[in-house]
């Protein structure tokens, strides 16, 4: 992609849309949604909110469902995008009934994608405005999970609102299509090798302007004192929502989501002494650009970061999890950043870099207030490190206003290593902690580690009396407020309720 002039009035990108290579030029302030609707006249992608809340604008970008209202047009450079209009073509390619794309003058329309057909057959659409988004989400998650339960279908559609249907007939259609698609996939004679063949991605080119491709490039831009552009866009699930409210200009942002150095989840040898608990020889380093979905898919984290997995599983809906990053969750410094609560409970350390230097800050010391962190203007968050503890247990619990696309009213993460009580008897109940991290979100100006409560629990094994003491302590430790989501009083009391439930979940209470 290139900025076509110094004034950067337009931007040029290459991408594939519905299987066709496209060269596009448009203003840097337009979203992918606008590019699809206005440049390509693909009107099937709808706008219901412009803030990632309704899913009407869902398209598939590089294999995953995303809200196209939360992707800038320039971020689509080099991507493969599918919209509702392309589904018959996609199905044709997958089923390899034809190995070449249909020629344009063939009047015979391609058969509908099974999901499109079952949505008609099951009476799943009423006003229809949500339907393209629903179908695109379904296509994306059936690819990951071809044989979903009803509950998994609900989870897969968690990022899509429908006001007409009550969803029942939508679930029916997805179930029906899934079974047809499985039947098709199981029939090898129809399953040509081209099935896996993807459209060639646009050739990766040196990108400048709106997309930073290396960490150094991004840090260089940051180092310029009054740079007109700032690396500000990772998943965009916070910054583009703010931009819609008139805060920040996307045309002046730089995409950092493609930076290699910000991705990857790997084991490393621990560096330096840890600030909390005993030192663990191994650590896990998670790139700041890791998305919630990537966290959920990581076997390493499934094994060693139970609280983080549980937290990421309840964030937003699929589209938000596919784009939102850990780095953005930290840098945005909302008191309701779910992955932060979980990571902090594990004693996470943050790696921060500027062009000249690198530094490490414990997660606990990162926040200065709501929306305020220790990050300087010229710095980027590069990675989050957590200790790799073999027998770590953990859990994450939250209360939200509903079961998907919800912001926490109060949430807690507990990570611990349990040591059975002396002389092997557990009759007195509970166990001692070798390591204990308890963090709360949404009940104070920032996410915080409940040190006083940890102290109560750590010194003695949690029997009913200590538990009661701990619950009293946490109620004093939190500083909740009344806001649009809940009341201070409720949040305070729930902090204690969730504490007990979390301890029980990890097996620390008899």
């Amino acid at each position: 992609m290139t900025r076509s002039s110094a004034l950067s009035t337009t931007v040029r990108i290459q991408c594939h849309v519905n299987g066709e290579a496209r060269q596009l030029e448009f203003s840097p302030s337009v979203r992918l949604l606008d590019v699809l609707r206005e440049e390509l006249h693909l009107i099937g992608t709808k706008e219901g909110c412009g803030k990632g809340e309704c899913g009407a604008c869902t398209v598939i970008m590089d294999g995953r469902a995303v809200d196209s209202c939360l992707v800038m047009g320039y971020q689509a450079d080099g991507s493969e995008i599918w919209t509702i209009e392309g589904l018959p073509q996609m199905w044709e390619m997958q089923t390899a009934r034809k190995l070449h794309p249909v020629s344009r003058d063939d009047h015979e329309p391609l058969p509908l994608h099974p999901l499109q057909r079952t949505f008609v057959e099951c009476g799943s659409s009423q006003c229809g405005i949500c339907i393209p988004g629903m179908i695109m989400s379904s296509v994306a998650f059936l690819k990951e999970n071809p044989n979903p339960t009803r509950e998994e279908i609900r989870y897969g559609l968690g990022g899509n609102l429908c006001r007409c249907t009550g969803y029942v007939k939508i679930f029916d259609a997805v179930e029906k299509a899934a079974s047809e698609m499985r039947a098709f996939a199981q029939n090898p004679s129809q399953h040509a090798p081209a099935h896996q063949r993807r459209v060639n991605k646009a050739t990766p080119r040196r990108r400048d302007g709106f997309v930073a491709s290396t960490l150094k490039e991004a840090l260089k831009i940051l180092a310029i004192p009054d740079s007109p552009t700032r690396p500000q866009l990772a998943g965009g699930t916070d910054s583009l929502v703010r931009a819609k409210d008139g805060i920040g200009q996307p045309s002046r942002m730089v995409d950092i989501s493609r930076i290699k150095e910000l991705s990857g989840i790997k084991k490393i040898r621990a560096r330096g002494k840890r600030t909390s608990g005993s030192a663990y020889p191994q650590e896990i380093r998670i790139g700041a650009g890791t998305t919630f979905t990537e966290v959920l898919e990581s076997e390493l984290l499934q094994k060693y970061a139970p609280a983080l997995i549980e937290a990421c599983a309840v964030i937003g809906g699929p589209q938000i999890r596919n784009r939102g990053t850990l780095g953005g969750n930290f840098a945005n410094a909302s008191p309701a950043a779910d992955s932060v609560t979980a990571l902090m409970s594990m004693g996470a350390i943050l790696e921060i870099a500027s062009l000249k230097s690198c530094r490490q800050v414990p997660a606990e010391k990162f926040f200065l207030g709501p929306g305020k962190t220790v990050l300087k203007k010229n710095e980027l968050l590069v990675a989050v490190r957590i200790p790799k503890i073999p027998n770590l247990v953990g859990c994450y619990l939250r209360l939200g206003q509903r079961r998907a696309q919800a912001i926490s009213k109060v949430d807690v993460a507990v990570s611990a290593v349990l040591k059975p009580r002396g002389n092997g008897s557990s009759k007195n109940g509970g166990s001692l902690f070798d390591f204990l991290g308890i963090c709360y979100g949404s009940v104070a100006p920032t996410i915080f580690r409940a040190r006083a409560t940890e102290a109560v629990l750590k010194e003695q094994s949690p029997n009913p009396a200590t538990l009661k003491h701990a619950k009293e302590t946490i109620k004093k430790e939190v500083q909740p407020i009344d806001d649009i989501r809940s009341t201070a009083e409720y949040r305070r009391e729930m902090s204690a309720v969730l504490l007990e439930r979390a301890l029980r979940r990890i097996g620390a209470l008899a």
Binding site: R37, I43, G44, K46, G48, C49, G50, K51, E53, C54, I84, H107, E108, P109, P111, L112, R117, F119, V120, E121, C122, G123, S124, S125, Q126, C127, G128, I129, C130, P132, I135, R154, Y155, G158, N160, L161, C162, R163, C164, T165, G166, Y167, V168, K169, I170, L399, Q401, R402, A404, Q405, A406, I481, D482, D483, I484, S486, T487, Y490, E493, R504
Partner: protein, 821 residues
């Protein structure tokens, strides 16, 4: 083939699943401008000065209009002539429009709107219903007087329950926001395209402000992304705005509201307050109700008088009750005007009467179901307005169906047992299950106050190839009108379904057919179509009776094969061909018509040759209704639909969270023309009802303080009365993760006047869900909420109060016990 009663796939869904359906934002016209609106930041104020000079200098701005630039009347004509399109002199609610801008781009229009400065002098604002009532700001007052309730309440042998109930604003939350495009025509007329429910209301609004004759204001409905009542009268405002701008600039103008703007300024369900007193005999007969019913109308009357009227007509529920006093008031406040929303004034009062029914049953010592059954309306009974029910009363059957499907008696015992077991678990399980009932009835159509709006028209035109155009004045808003009316037309004409096309509603095609509301569409437009079809059929019979069509058919078939050999393809729009997997190119050659279709085509060919008029206008007028304004009595509606819900919930008594596990919901719809769209209406309505009962409400700023600002995380500070939650992350509607198992049950007690026996179905599903939920929460936990939504915070507070009430009570009780010894 008869299609009525069949699960026919919706013809309109094919475009919707392919993404080709054109909603208003998908349309554009050459040289189109974009609109933005300057809106009042104050609930009440005097406009001192409007400065537009800076805005006019912005590049791309073509017009800026204020009240004084309106060529017609500055009035949106509704029931009371009180609402201006643009505030003149005084603003009466936050978000009221003050000035309009049209510019080359949306961003230029918005920039110009920001550059317009308006000086206001703030005036005292009425922000609560109570304050408005105290100041006698009454938009409408209706009365209902039947029997002698005072006598009943003064008796000593009756059980009396009295409570005050509160219900919140509810947002329609259609996923497509409101939007309109106005296109100037060469003859000086204006065509308006938009997302709307009632083309004739929009037409009147446009004619009013532009000063044009109605036949010059043509309104065409685009595919509409949800309405639920929210696009009934309210779209008249954006339509009038774009029409004025188009008139001023001579160019097409488009205006699509942002989600936030839509939530701030468009209509909503009225917040309600109901003071409800009921009396029953000890053996379980409902004797009397005494009710004061208040709705917060907001700044202008809009549809509030008739919303309120529907509420009062159903004030005692679908039960016999001979002694009634109700006073119902719509109160004027300085807030956004409320209007129509699915259920139309019923959900508020139904919440109250269905809670009352449970509380009475408990006091009497009857099961909630038994008590309802004992008092349920049946054929021959009189409604609360003394309307004698002569036919089509399926209420009891809805109860029986739900009871059967849920296995209620066993389920109730099973739940009691499981709750008992949970208490004694170690550690105790904090989840309690509960069951709750909610019933309602719904007068179909506009009823006696509908007046000239009641009739509906239809035009049916058959082309020479047998295809049929049907035009009606009511609209498809997702509820399935196109499907259901196609079925009615096909069966009435006796032609295959695929020949029918329901045209997009257009005011130039059909006479005023009233609004698409009150579950009247199937009934009224269906009857109008049937009327037109009858006229055509009788003309057809004159030339077709006893005629042998086999020769014509054979000829037509061979012509089709020949055409196909020449490469002429069958037109693409054939719905069944695309969705049916059995379709193959080979049967396309013969047009794949069924024998039935060939017969129809042949019949039409013969009629054409014999110069039969194959078109007609149909007209439907509902049976007589009556109403007495003094007593509120009369046969106020043509008929009623009935519904019963049973919900099972699980309440977490530590967190106050309620999970809805199952809903059984039965509806007497007369006749389900299409059970699939019927179920769709039921499921959708039930989920909206769950939102209403558990999640949805608007939070308003009470003062301009910092606290209010902090609440939203957006700028601010916000003036009193401003809605603080105006987006989908703060106004909470159910997601796919929040819905229960729903068992939809359809009961059919045919209504003789309805097409094929149909009544209406659109609204009953939402009405009695919230009380069923709150009744179930009471059943699970013992707390008695009088306010919705039953958020975890409210449930938790009530649980806490209940617990402290119990601990306070028990020492007293033991003291009493001690003294007794």
């Amino acid at each position: 083939m008869r299609t009525v009663g069949e699960r026919i796939a919706r013809p309109d869904s094919l475009d919707k699943v392919q993404g080709t359906a054109q909603y208003v934002d998908d349309l554009s016209f050459g040289a189109m401008l974009h609109a933005a609106v300057v809106r009042s930041p104050l609930a009440h104020g005097r406009i001192k000065k409007i400065s537009t000079a800076a805005a006019r200098r912005i590049r791309g701005v073509h017009a800026i209009l204020t009240a004084q630039d309106i060529p017609g009347q500055n009035l949106i004509p509704m029931i009371q002539p009180d609402q201006p399109l643009l505030a003149a002199g005084e603003v009466r609610h936050i978000g009221e429009a003050v000035a309009l801008v049209a510019a080359e781009t949306k961003s230029a229009a918005e920039e110009a709107a920001r550059a317009i400065t308006v000086d206001y002098e703030a005036l005292p604002a009425i922000l609560t219903l109570e304050e408005g009532f105290a100041k006698r700001e009454i938009v409408q007052h209706w009365k209902l007087r039947r029997g002698r309730p005072c006598d009943i309440f003064s008796r000593h042998d009756v059980v009396v329950v009295e409570n005050t109930y509160q219900t919140p604003y509810q947002e329609h939350a259609y996923i497509e926001t409101n939007g309109m495009i106005a296109v100037p025509e060469t003859d000086g007329g204006i065509t308006v395209y938009g997302s709307l429910q009632c083309p004739f209301y929009v037409q009147k609004a446009v004619a009013s402000v532009t000063g044009m004759k109605m036949n010059h204001c043509r309104v065409i409905q685009t595919v509409t992304g949800g309405g639920f009542g929210g696009k009934e009268d309210a779209p008249g405002l954006p339509a009038a705005m774009v029409a004025l701008l188009a008139q001023a600039t001579g160019r097409p103008v488009k205006y699509i509201l942002s989600r936030e703007e839509d939530m701030q300024v468009m209509s909503k369900r009225h917040p309600g307050k109901i003071v409800y007193r009921s009396a029953a005999s000890h053996d379980g007969i409902l004797l009397a109700v005494d009710v004061d019913y208040f709705l917060d109308a907001g700044a202008y009357a809009t549809l509030s008088p008739v919303v309120l009227w529907r509420g009062i007509n159903h004030a005692a529920g679908p039960y016999r009750c001979e002694h009634v006093r109700v006073d119902a008031y719509a109160i004027r406040t300085h807030k956004v005007p409320c209007g129509a929303f699915r259920g139309f004034g019923e959900p508020q009062i139904v919440f109250a009467h269905e809670r009352q029914m449970d509380l009475l049953a408990e006091r009497i010592g009857l099961d909630a179901l038994q008590f309802r059954e004992k008092n349920a309306l049946e054929t021959g009974d009189h409604t609360v307005t003394e309307h004698e029910l002569k036919e089509s009363v399926g209420f009891k059957d809805t109860i029986i169906e739900v009871r059967r499907a849920s296995n209620y008696d066993r389920l109730k015992l099973e739940i009691e047992k499981s709750n008992g077991a949970r208490i004694s678990e170690n550690p105790p399980n904090p989840k309690r299950r509960g069951l709750g009932w909610g019933c309602c009835y719904y007068g179909v159509g506009l009823g006696a106050r509908g007046g000239y709006l009641n009739p509906a028209g239809a035009s049916v035109v058959i082309s020479s190839d047998g295809s049929v155009n049907v035009a009606v004045g009511t609209t498809e808003i997702g509820q399935g009108m196109i499907t259901v009316l196609s079925q009615i037309a096909a069966d009435a004409l006796g032609c295959p379904l695929e020949f029918i096309r329901i045209m997009p509603p257009d005011t130039s095609r059909v006479p005023d057919s009233g609004p698409t509301v009150a579950s009247r569409t199937t009934l009224m437009s269906g009857n109008a179509i049937a009327d037109a079809c009858r006229q055509i059929k009788s003309r057809m019979a004159a030339v077709c009776a006893d005629y042998d069509f086999s020769k014509i058919i054979a000829e037509m078939k061979s012509q089709a094969v020949a055409a196909s050999a020449r490469g002429e393809t069958h037109p693409k729009s054939d719905f069944h061909r695309i969705v049916t997997s059995s379709y193959t190119p080979s049967n396309r050659a013969s047009g794949h018509w069924s024998e039935e279709a060939w017969l129809w085509k042949a019949t039409i060919q013969r009629c054409v040759q014999n110069m039969v008029q194959l078109s007609a206008h149909g007209w439907a007028v509902p049976p007589q209704t009556t109403y007495d304004g003094e007593t509120g009595l009369g046969d106020v509606y043509v008929t009623y639909s009935y519904s019963t819900n049973l919900v099972e919930v699980e309440v977490d008594i530590e967190t106050g969270e309620t999970t809805v596990l199952k809903v059984w919901t039965a509806h007497d719809v007369g006749k389900a023309i299409n059970p699939q769209t019927g179920e769709g209406q039921i499921e959708g309505g039930v989920v909206q009802g769950i939102g209403y009962g558990l999640l949805e409400e608007h939070v308003l700023a009470t003062d301009g303080s910092k606290a209010a600002t902090r609440k939203t995380g957006k700028g601010g500070p916000f003036p009193p009365g401003r809605i603080l939650n105006d987006q989908f992350s703060t106004y909470i509607i159910p997601t796919p993760m929040d819905i229960p198992e729903i068992h939809s049950l359809i009961v059919e007690h045919a209504f003789p006047y309805g097409p094929f026996g149909a009544k209406g179905l659109g609204e009953t599903p939402i009405i009695a869900v919230a009380p069923a939920l709150v009744n179930a929460i009471a059943n699970a936990t013992g707390i008695q909420l009088r306010e919705i939504p039953a958020t975890p915070e409210r449930v938790w507070q009530a649980l806490k109060q209940e617990a402290s009430r119990r601990t306070q009570q028990s020492p007293r009780r033991s003291r009493k016990a001690a003294s007794a010894i």
